[in-house]
Amino acid sequence: MLARSTLSRGPSQLLTRAAPSSRRGLAAAAVSNPFHYSVGESAGIKVASRDDGGPTTALAVVARGGSRYETAPGLAHGLEKFAFKNSRRSALRLQRETELLGGSLGSTLSRENIVLRAKFLRDDLPYFVEALADVLIHTKYNPYEFNEQVSPTMGFEIENLHHTPAALALEAAHNIAFHKGLGSSRLALTNKYLSNKSITEYSKKVYSKDNIAVVASGAPQQDLEKWTAEFFKELPSGTGPVVAPAKYYGGETRVFSPHGDAIVIAFPGSASAPSFKAEYTVLAYLLGGETSIKWNTGMSFLSQAVSEIPHTTAVAKHVAYTDTGLLYVTIEGPGSALTQAGENVVSAFKSLGEVKPEDVKKAIALAKFDALATAEDRSVGLESVGQTVIASGNAPQVESIVKALSGVTVEAVKAAGKKLLESKATFVVVGDTYILPYAEDLGLKV
């Protein structure tokens, strides 16, 4: 195995290791249920993994430190962008060594979590566990790295956000739906509160033993536990940042943007496992908006609602957080068409009360397919697994999700649909505020 001692002998050693070894036959692990995550604990850190015996591994460290936990605006974004910068070894060396091993590193930020990810050939597990541990334990947070690399990258992402009306509308929707905490901006809109010092302090709060989970797909549990114990043992213990439970408020806001038009209509949804309500997921698929067949508007409620309006799309999504959720519809298109599209979408919402059983069946089938397809993809589901493992100590199993989806009845969907319209809506328009509609014009209660 590739341990620290091997690395110190120089990168040429790595080159010889870059070729995948054929020691392990792929048929070696004929696992009965390749989707099943086993959960354990090692050195006080929660470790979850599943092993389907495939040749590659996806590894993630999920830290409960997304934007809802930050103590000043933008800290989570700054911390996320500081991942894989100079630590015990330099950022450059880490990058080159990773390339030699044929792996890739990355980090993502959500409202709940900072996720550090690695994808690599299965034999290189120890190297990448150590690489991720180094980020958590040894990152130096140099001020000049912040100025030279971190800050410009953050700037690009902010720029990108401001040029994407739909993303901006969703940000604003979260803000008025949940106010502080969960509603605070995911990205750092200003650098005013950021310095290497404040980021270092936040990192100490977030990167602690009880606040992270190591999740792998395609690695044996005992190996992962062993290497986690070895490389993460210096991580300080701590309970992580505190947060007030999220509360749904709702309301209306309008943001001017010269870069296009979008509307987001959102309603309170369901929290993630264990108090997950599958009918909200089914509701999102029932509303739909994305087509399964090319060059076709699709048959879901929202696709039908905007099918007559050219260049306009309306897509429903459900996003589950640890203690709440949001069911939202994003309507994009030319500003002049959005009033009509919005009216159609609202009447589609109203028709949820008398939904046909076969439509629900179709939505459940689609939801099941997506749940299983996501589970099949190595690197996609790691964050939600980690999030649940940190919160409850158990991994959400795809079997139980599929089972919950199969158990959704037409009545439950109808009831959830009715409840949506009874609750206070969140309504955001971004773009040309002169022509874009108000919530009241569309018949929404805010």
Binding site: S12, S90, L92, R93, R96, Y144
Partner: protein, 125 residues
């Protein structure tokens, strides 16, 4: 020859107490004769900055340190133009002669060297 080669020599001397004892008075005399302390400068102000390495290092200085550096340089230029030296109390004290720039230069040289090494990797048989 890099900017930090002198630092390596200094460390080698410091590592040998007998050598350090021998060199210390000579070094004291040398810095005194060099005269930069009379102009209120510190040793790292004398590093030639017309090159990428030192420019990069200056960029990395914390704002206060960078400001003080410019202040010292301007004051020294003023003294030089006026053919004077600073009054005794404004001159740099030996304990105030701190190497504020060299750590950054060393770090940048290390980074450059590492990049060069990694750029010219060859596959071992």
């Amino acid at each position: 020859m890099t900017f930090s080669s002198g630092v390596a020599l200094r460390r080698a001397i410091l590592a040998r107490p007998w050598l350090h004892k021998m060199m210390a008075p000579i070094a004291e005399k040398y810095t005194d004769l060099a005269g930069y302390r009379q102009l209120g400068l510190v040793r790292d102000d004398l590093i030639a900055d017309e090159n990428e390495t030192v420019q990069e290092a200056i960029k990395r200085l914390p704002p206060k340190v960078a400001y003080d550096r410019v202040y010292r340089l301007r004051r020294a230029v003023q003294c030089s133009l006026a053919h004077t030296i600073l009054p005794k109390e404004e001159q740099t004290k030996p304990e105030g002669d701190i190497s504020y720039l060299m750590p950054y230069i060393e770090e940048i040289e290390r980074e450059r060297k590492e990049r060069e090494e990694l750029d010219s990797l060859t596959r071992a048989k």
